[in-house]
């Protein structure tokens, strides 16, 4: 029979593949193996990219480890599953066929986790089971007969608690020694069906030179694809579709025959597998004479998904997050500010007066410092996002928000990419890969940057400071929250519009696991914050540094020695560009100086703040003034103040909607594999930003505000 395999220890294992269900602790095990920094999350499918690392064995041997995306099945419905399947079957040209598969399974959720094991067995690869989270089995008042399980499955089973590094050495030992597996397909479908499958297996072996194991696994998938066989597969993601017309025709013939007999290959296989799993569990899992400990998850869920307390908790967490951003973050922000001011003073003292000193002080230190100052706020934001994800609360937000998402035609799963986009649209857009429907995924990607990301924080913060300098932290957090809500409403409206027009599709099916709550690993949270701040600082040191220098040059040349500061700025290249833009942006309440800020932040939003500090440091002689005071002192030529409350609001709204981020454009280009979508996204968001700011300013004026 196909899918029966026995093997002796391999000579040498070079490549190990880690696979397993989402939430099985696969990523934790990967970290323990490779010591490579990586994120551990609790949302099903947080590992969306193929990650690789190296594992050092005792005798200095190096083994490559590939971390596959977490998945429930080897079916081919999402790009993730397709990728995993191709890697396991050795179909990717840049990845060699695995020498060993380690399947991580959650011992506390054995039945469903064994489903994937059963599918992996079909592929006939040497395999080890890492029976993870053994501590949860204990808590459930049960025990697993590991020796028995290993015997029934026909492969080594190693009990592990990856979060406490238990069982890691045993796994390494096995990898070093090589493994012996000997398993048989324990399940059978109806004889008629087995026969048809066998026929297709023979075809695949004959035409495609597949080995029988791979052919059996493939046959089941092919028979279940139905009408989609011909067109759908070619388009999806990184996969290539391999079969010749002739073979596809023959598959259709078999499918027709099955349909006539009223047989469904796929569900029959699923049910047969689960029947087998039931018998395995019956043999290997026993109840201990102990009461299971109280289920903490159940008690937490009773509150956080409660009709009233659920919302209180959700909005409470959000409010707390923004409040912390405004209160706790101010202390380190003051220190950073003082540091950069000191640095500027020092350079002023050391360097002789001249253009070099101006470049250093007004260009580089003011520019980079103006952005780095927001590091503490970004750290707090990522601390929260990371915590919500790792504990498992993020999935609950998808659960309670799904109804709302379905109103705009989206899936609860779209909520997590959108929520992650509050931190940064890039991880958000990348996590949209877990959405199976290509159209829904695209809609999610298109609206994700409307969620206010951390790069908007600097702009909001400074505008709010100008808008209401005397306000309390609570009031400021309120305005900030309003901006975030504006973005959310915009995202919902646009998603609804896209689903109605450009990207119509059926309502997607919503099935989502609600894993138990787990203590976050503080180590992982800290690493996540560190990684993010490193990225932010690198951005400050590269893109923003370069932009600061370019902008300084544009603002300082051509030089007009005799003119007073502000006139010289207006005559510069940047000033000319801003002046040219002024007629377009005047209806929004902006002058040519804000125009320079808009142009400057074209590639990165936070550059607005540094550009404005350069604009006003160059234009005004009073360097000791903070940017806020400079803004408040700014006037139109006729003496009206420039930054009226209405202009501040209009500017903030502009930044809510505009897509000013090269990194996002690049990531959308990569994820959609086209340049039309990022271009479309940029244009629609620019139009939206312009219209929304116009509406705010003009309506505000009509209503008598200034």
């Amino acid at each position: 029979m196909p899918a029966d395999i026995s093997s002796s220890p391999q000579t040498l294992i070079r490549t190990v593949i880690l696979t397993g269900n989402p939430n099985s602790g696969k990523t934790t095990l990967f970290n323990a193996f490779t010591k490579l920094r990586q994120k551990v999350g609790n949302y099903p499918g947080v590992t969306v990219e193929r990650k690789t690392g190296t594992l050092m064995l005792a005798n200095d041997r190096v083994v490559n480890v590939i971390d596959l995306p977490g998945m429930y099945s080897l079916a081919v419905r999402s790009p993730d599953e397709q990728l995993a399947r191709n890697v396991l079957m050795g179909r990717l040209s840049d990845t060699s066929k695995p020498d060993l598969v380690i399947c991580v399974i959650d011992a506390g959720n054995l039945e469903r986790n064994l489903y994937l094991v059963s599918q992996l067995q079909d592929l006939g690869l040497p395999m080890i089971i890492a029976l993870n989270m053994m501590d949860e089995v204990e808590r459930q008042g049960r025990e697993i007969d590991v020796v028995r399980l290993s015997k029934v499955l026909g492969m080594p089973v190693v009990p592990t608690v990856a979060s406490q590094n238990k069982g890691i050495e045993e796994l390494k030992q096995l990898i070093a020694e090589g493994v012996t597996v000997s398993y048989q397909r324990g399940w059978r479908m109806a004889p008629d069906l087995e026969e048809e499958v066998e026929q297709l297996v023979r075809l695949l072996v004959q035409h495609e030179k597949m080995d029988r194991h791979a052919a059996f696994a493939e046959a089941l998938i092919l028979l279940s694809l139905g009408a989609k066989l011909k067109n759908e597969e070619k388009k999806t993601g990184p996969a290539r579709w391999f079969y010749k017309e002739e073979l596809i025709r023959q598959i259709s013939v078999i499918q027709d025959r099955l349909r006539l007999k009223g047989l469904r290959a796929r569900t029959a296989a699923i049910e047969a597998r689960y029947d087998w799993i039931k018998s395995v569990v019956r043999q290997c899992v026993h109840d201990k004479n102990k009461q299971p400990r109280e289920d903490l998850t159940e008690r937490i869920d009773a509150v956080v998904t409660h009709q009233l307390w659920g919302w209180v908790f959700f909005f409470g967490i959000m409010a707390l997050m923004f409040y912390m951003i405004f209160t706790i973050a101010t202390y380190p922000m003051d220190w950073i500010d003082a540091g950069f001011t000191k640095m500027g003073d020092w350079v002023t003292r050391v360097l002789p007066a001249g253009q070099l000193r101006n470049l250093m002080v007004d260009g580089i230190i003011a520019g980079v410092g103006g952005v780095v100052i927001f590091l503490p706020q970004i750290l707090i934001l990522f601390f929260f996002i990371s915590l919500l994800q790792d504990t498992g609360y993020m999935v609950r937000t998808a659960f309670i928000m799904d109804r709302v998402m379905s109103k705009v035609g989206l899936h609860g799963k779209s909520f997590i990419p959108l929520l992650s986009s509050f931190a940064c649209a890039i991880p958000g857009i990348m996590s949209a890969r877990t959405i199976e429907s290509p159209k829904d995924r695209l809609v999610t990607i298109l609206v994700a940057p409307l969620m206010s990301c951390s790069a908007r924080l600097p702009v909001y913060t400074i505008m709010i400071a100008v808008l209401m300098p005397a306000a309390t932290g609570m009031q400021k957090a309120g305005i900030m929250l309003a901006m975030y809500v504006t973005g959310i409403v915009g995202a919902c409206l646009m998603a609804w519009l896209f689903k109605k027009t450009l990207l119509r599709s059926q309502k997607p099916v919503f099935i989502m696991e609600l894993p138990p709550y787990r203590w976050p690993s503080w180590h992982a949270v800290v690493i996540h914050m560190w990684e993010r701040s490193r990225l932010f600082l690198r951005r400050a040191g590269t893109i923003i540094l370069a932009l600061s220098v370019i902008l300084w040059v544009l603002m300082s040349y051509p030089r007009h020695e005799g003119l007073p500061g502000s006139d010289a700025l207006k005559a510069s290249f940047a000033g000319q560009m801003g002046t040219a833009l002024e007629p377009v942006i005047k209806p929004l309440g902006y002058d040519w100086r804000i125009g320079i800020g808009l142009i400057g932040s074209f590639a990165a939003r936070e550059v607005f703040v540094s550009t404005m500090s350069i604009v006003f440091n160059l234009g005004d002689e009073a360097k000791e003034n903070s940017l806020r005071e400079a803004f408040q002192a700014a006037h139109w030529p006729d003496g009206r103040p420039l930054f009226t409350p209405l202009v501040c609001l209009s500017l903030m709204v502009f930044y809510v909607f505009a897509l000013q981020c090269v990194s996002t454009v690049a990531v959308v280009w990569r994820e959609t594999n086209s340049w039309q979508w990022p271009l479309f996204q940029f244009v629609y968001m620019a139009i939206l930003a312009y219209l929304a700011s116009l509406a705010v300013y003009q309506l505000g004026r009509v209503m008598g505000f200034s």
Binding site: T297, F510, M512
Partner: protein
């Protein structure tokens, strides 16, 4: 299991009610997805809760918690265990 147990769709069950999955009303790709998650005929199921806005529904099956929309739960016929 006796014949006279009432069969209803999963979406009609109330919180705390238990039952045994009988079959799917129609067969579709979506059913395959649901079955792959362990929701197969013959299996015991318990309704844990409904989301605050009434949809989706959270069920307990094979010892773990799963949420699905009422729309999908409607496809699943369950023999209610009193």
């Amino acid at each position: 299991m006796p014949e006279n147990y009432k069969t209803v769709s999963l979406s009609k069950m109330s919180i705390g009610q238990k039952g045994r999955i009988r079959d799917f009303v129609v067969e579709s790709d979506d059913c395959e997805r649901i079955e792959e998650m362990g929701v197969t005929p013959g299996e015991h199921v318990e309704v844990v809760r409904y989301a605050p806005l009434g949809d989706p529904i959270e069920i307990k099956i094979r010892g773990y918690h799963l949420s699905l929309r009422k729309e999908e739960a409607e496809l699943i016929q369950v023999e209610v265990i009193p």
